[in-house]
Amino acid sequence: MASQLKVNTLTGVTTAGSINVTGEGNSTTTSLQQGLLKAWGLSNDGANTADSFNIGSATDNGTGNYTKTFTNNMATTDSSITATSAENQYGTMFSGGRLATNFTIKCETISGGALDSVIAYKVAGDLA
């Protein structure tokens, strides 16, 4: 019979921010904290926020230039931030800068013109 634990918060005993989880192969463990995404979001025109997690605000810096600000900040400027575009057929997006408090995504056409686009993004890294 499956056991069920009802709990609202998980905290490490030895280190509050460190809990290991047995991996799928049963041979190694992985970090719960470092495996959890710290933020994600979908923006329908890049500037707005259709849905998100740990994104407090979004700023439209201009065409194809968007800054997403965290609700809870990251520990460093070195988070692993990835993003994809849903309809940017003739363009791409790239990292426009990272801080512990926010990050910027820019979208351009192949010829270099700024381009508004749907973007989906996620952030992995350490919380402050």
């Binding site: 019979m1 499956a2 056991s3 634990l5 009802k6 709990v7 609202n8 918060t9 998980l10 905290t11 490490g12 005993v13 030895t14 280190t15 460190s18 809990i19 290991n20 989880v21 047995t22 991996g23 799928e24 192969g25 049963n26 041979s27 190694t28 463990t29 992985t30 970090s31 719960l32 470092q34 495996g35 959890l36 995404l37 460093t76 400027t77 070195d78 988070s79 692993s80 931030i81 990835t82 993003a83 994809t84 363009g91 791409t92 997006m93 790239f94 990292s95 426009g96 990272r98 995504i105 820019k106 351009e108 192949i110 010829s111 270099g112 996620k122 992995a124 890294g125 350490d126």
Partner: protein, 143 residues
Amino acid sequence: MSTLNVDALVGNTSANAITVRGEGSATTSLQQGLAKSWVCLKGSDTFAVRDSFNTASATDNGVGDYTTTRSNALANGDYATAGICSATGGGNPHYNFIVENSENSGTKIRTTTALRTYILNARDSESTNDAPDYSMTFMGDLA
């Protein structure tokens, strides 16, 4: 409000399977929902790992040509990756993107521990190109 203080979580029926109640009515897998590795690299100037998780090494194979390896291997080569890099200045700025291989890049390497990727610049006949920032996240099953 309850708080569980614990250092390790192990499934009861199966050690590798813990279910978590989702935001709505469904449940989701704790193990499969966790990213198994991520890395943030500095690709230009002096190549370096800015920050990482479950990353054993990062190798600069050449211009825009990086290989990262995992400390704990994935179960197979079919893990999902997502990456993005920053623009590069110079004669053909911007429009960098990350691929695993192409006509103008080298060998594809995707194993349970290693992933080789190439940063291409579409404005310069898809030549390989270093980027100041490079991020990659790995989702899949641990070995």
